[in-house]
């Protein structure tokens, strides 16, 4: 039984991380494409159209992967977690259905118009289409986070007929967990888009491609990256403070703090001995955790052991401490990547204002590598969020071991895990290859290719 849970969790982890590898760029780039095309419609400057087409081609390669990996997300609750689906479907299904009805239809239909409609609809309708796509990607994120927030802090439900039923829809939406999580996620998505544009433009500059569309893209990238990476950190800080109060176990695990302390130090590195519930080695900065939690250098931060005791009283015997090592290090990776993003974008702004960015070849190279930073932060952020909810699937309501499908065999779960992992890995490699290929190409060159293609050649 335990093995099935592990396998099912691995499947969920792999499919979610893969899915969220593509989603932030979709959200970020859709918004930036809408901004770029707005400039085009306003100024009628062809450079913006070139930009929209260039970034659009990259957007689409990425979008396809986001869509198909999302399919699995929707169906695997029923496949692997059928008891969970029965228990919370009354509530949890609602945001998922609304997401499809409100966001997916808009997104897919208007993206079709945007891609195929350059010559078929008026400029304004074409522009409206990409704005609708952008809004629907954000709506989609909103509804999925409504569902996810319910898992962290169930609101608006009542236990009835042996399951959680919807009691108050507006409480589900007003869930404060959602309102700290959603802005943080969207800012992260914008940062992903910003760093992507920044890095790819930097690549073209390195190759001495100084065309106007490149420099304008670079500027846009710098502005978006700096705003988004500072916001994401600021919003993350709010989220952190919120979690210390609302879900202390989560933050205690993320900080690997076993015993309550006042003031509490912030661990930078730790060797965590989960078995004996202690850190066998740690380097920490005094008082900093208290400061991060309460904005002052005193204040008690509760440790894992104390919270465990509280939870035992509230929820009965059992282990309520999530995997601490994973939580601790994913948190540090996320924050570390976030700090580097801020530094990198400030530096980029500085060089841009000094008009030196075009000569700094090494720095441009750094910006290309910088594309990876938001990806690291996005993935580790989600791993932290989900892992630190253990042992709960819905906090306080349902534990993971009660949530899986009772009649699905281990062989089935293993086979689907392998199929998805294999398929995703292969497709991801292909996708990356295509992204790199198209990111390197200059838009003008590609147009010529298309003309050649039209003449047609023979295929079997």
């Amino acid at each position: 039984m335990n093995d099935i849970i592990t396998l099912a969790r691995w499947q969920f982890a792999i499919t979610t991380v893969y899915h969220f590898f593509f989603v932030p760029l979709t959200i970020g780039l859709a918004f930036l494409l809408a901004v770029i095309e707005s400039f085009y419609v306003k100024t009628k400057n062809e450079k913006y159209k070139t930009m929209a087409k260039f970034w659009g081609s990259l957007f689409l390669i990425n979008f396809a992967m986001g869509v198909v990996t999302g399919l699995v997300q929707e169906f695997q609750f029923g496949m692997n977690w059928s008891n969970y689906s029965r228990y919370v479907g009354d509530i949890f299904g609602v945001p998922l259905a609304i997401e499809a009805l409100l966001a997916f239809f808009l997104e897919s239909t208007f993206l079709g118009i945007w891609v195929f409609g350059w010559e078929k609809v008026s400029k304004k309708i074409h522009l409206a289409s990409i704005w609708i796509v952008s809004i629907s990607t954000i709506l989609s994120a909103f509804w999925i986070l409504v569902a996810n927030s319910f898992m962290h802090e169930p609101k608006g439900y009542v236990i009835n007929n042996g399951r959680a039923e919807l009691n108050n829809f507006s409480e589900l939406i007003k869930n404060s967990h959602l309102w700290v999580q959603f802005p943080h996620t969207i800012a992260a998505a914008l940062a992903t888009g910003g760093f992507f544009i920044l890095g790819v433009s930097a690549y073209h500059l390195m190759r001495k491609n100084n065309e106007e569309w490149v420099t304008t893209s670079l500027k846009l990238g710098v502005i978006v990256s700096i705003i988004a990476s500072i916001s994401v950190a600021f919003l993350g800080d709010i989220q952190g403070k919120y979690l210390v109060k609302q879900l202390p176990m989560k933050m205690a695990a993320a900080e690997a703090i076993w015993d309550s302390k006042d003031p509490a130090p912030l661990g930078v590195i730790a060797i965590i001995d989960e078995k004996n519930q202690r850190n066998s080695f740690e380097i920490s900065i005094p008082k900093l955790l208290s400061f991060m939690s309460y904005s002052k250098f005193t204040g008690k931060v509760e440790g894992l052991k104390d919270i465990q005791k509280d939870y035992e009283e509230m929820y009965g015997p059992g282990n309520y401490i999530p995997p601490v090592t994973i939580s601790f290090y994913t948190f540090r990776l996320m924050v570390g990547a976030g700090i580097l993003m801020i530094l990198l974008s400030i530096l980029a702004l500085y060089y841009l204002l000094k008009n030196k960015i075009f000569e700094k070849k090494r720095f441009l190279k750094l910006l290309v590598v910088g594309i990876m930073l938001p990806y690291i932060a996005n993935s580790t952020g989600w791993i932290l969020t989900e892992v630190s909810r253990t042992p709960w699937i819905v906090f306080g309501l349902l534990k993971l071991d009660k949530a899986i499908s009772p009649t699905v065999s281990k062989a089935y779960v293993l086979s689907s895990l392998l199929v998805f992992a294999f398929l995703y890995t292969v497709l991801m490699l292909i996708d990356l290859g295509l992204m790199i290929k198209f990111a390197k190409k200059s838009p003008d060159l590609r147009d010529k290719k298309l003309v050649k293609e039209e003449e047609g050649s023979l295929w079997i």
Binding site: S85, V408, K437, F438, E453, W459
Partner: protein, 334 residues
């Protein structure tokens, strides 16, 4: 009418939308490698469904979400029960989705032909498996008293369910061929048109067989309305064959829609008020009552669905209007 019945109808409507819309793009996908030999022809075939296929697929995703919200027990039983079938469906949907985007991104015979056959194979598998899956809801599968599916993959395969899969497959190919006849030009169009008579005839045979097998293996036709819908859809297939000969293809595609709507209706009316029949004991079957969400959820979702489904229909209809013209070789820009 109670909310449970309303949701039963809404979910059948979502499936009708999915089968009618995605039906032709599955059909187009299956025909792709055979009907178009040159690369620009294949591009034309893909572009004919390019603006639509993703939006069409959302009907399925919405049906999935709606089942989760309205009938969580159906969602849980069906998806955990049809596990391997669903795994295949998902793998096919994934491959198909990226194939449309990836195929033209590189040149080279191997790359493009490879993706073309992936589009073909995945469309084929999806058409057959959806037929098999839906037929199983009606035929009955081993569901125990805790609502859990206790059979294996091969419990889903029988003469009846395969016949349903085959019928869906043939109808989709027919549907796709009509669509291509209307939306393309040149040799592709000629080839598509030349297939119609044969496909129409196969469609008639397949649906008659399915009709007889449904009468023999299921209790659907005890409901006279289900019988009437199924019978009418057969008659319309004959009418369609006649219209194909008279080359009135625009009518054919709409009547195809009607045939699909009637076929799915026959299935769901035959099921009503059950959602999934248990072959172990009839009172273990999932029904629109024991599988449903609470009254509050159903009523909230009803308001949302009754508002937004018509809006979706409007703007999706509008896209079909924008891209109503034939795809020509001159405009293969994407």
């Amino acid at each position: 009418m109670d909310l449970n019945t309303l949701w039963f109808i809404l979910i059948s409507v979502l499936f009708i939308g999915f089968f009618f819309l995605e039906g032709f793009d599955f059909g187009v996908g299956i025909l792709l490698p055979f009907i178009a030999k040159q690369d620009n022809e294949r591009r034309m075939v893909i572009n004919s469904i390019g603006p639509f296929w993703d939006g069409n697929e959302v009907w399925l995703i919405t049906a999935g979400g709606a089942i989760f919200a309205a009938f969580p027990n159906l969602y849980a039983t069906m998806f955990s029960g049809f596990y391997l079938a669903l795994l295949l469906i998902l793998a096919a949907l994934i491959l198909r989705g990226v194939a449309f985007e990836f195929r033209s991104k590189r040149e080279g015979t191997f790359w493009r032909t490879g993706w073309d056959y992936i589009i073909f194979g995945s469309s084929l598998i999806l058409a057959v498996l959806w037929g098999v899956a839906l037929a199983n809801l009606l035929k009955g599968v081993p569901i125990d008293k805790t609502m859990n599916y206790v059979g294996g993959f091969f419990d889903l395969i029988s003469l009846y369910t395969l016949a349903a899969g085959l019928a869906v497959l043939i109808l989709f190919i027919f549907h796709g061929a009509v669509f291509l006849s209307l939306k393309t030009e040149g040799k592709v169009r000629e080839k598509a048109e030349s297939l119609l008579k044969l496909l129409g005839l196969c469609g008639i045979f397949a649906s008659v067989s399915l009709f007889i097998l449904t009468a023999l293996t299921t209790d659907a036709f005890l409901n006279k309305l289900s019988l009437a819908a199924a019978f009418l859809s057969m008659l319309l297939l004959v009418l369609n064959w006649y219209l194909v000969i008279r080359k009135e293809l625009k009518k054919v595609i709409f009547i195809n829609g009607l045939i699909i709507a009637l076929g799915i209706s026959a299935l769901f009316i035959g099921l009503y008020p059950r959602l999934m029949v248990s072959s172990i004991r009839s009172d273990y079957s999932l029904t629109i009552y024991n599988a449903a969400s609470s009254h509050k959820t159903l009523s909230l979702m009803s308001k949302l669905a009754l508002t937004f489904v018509p809006i979706v229909l409007l703007y999706q209809g509008w896209t079909y209007y924008i891209f109503r013209k034939r795809v020509t070789f001159k405009e293969l820009e994407y």
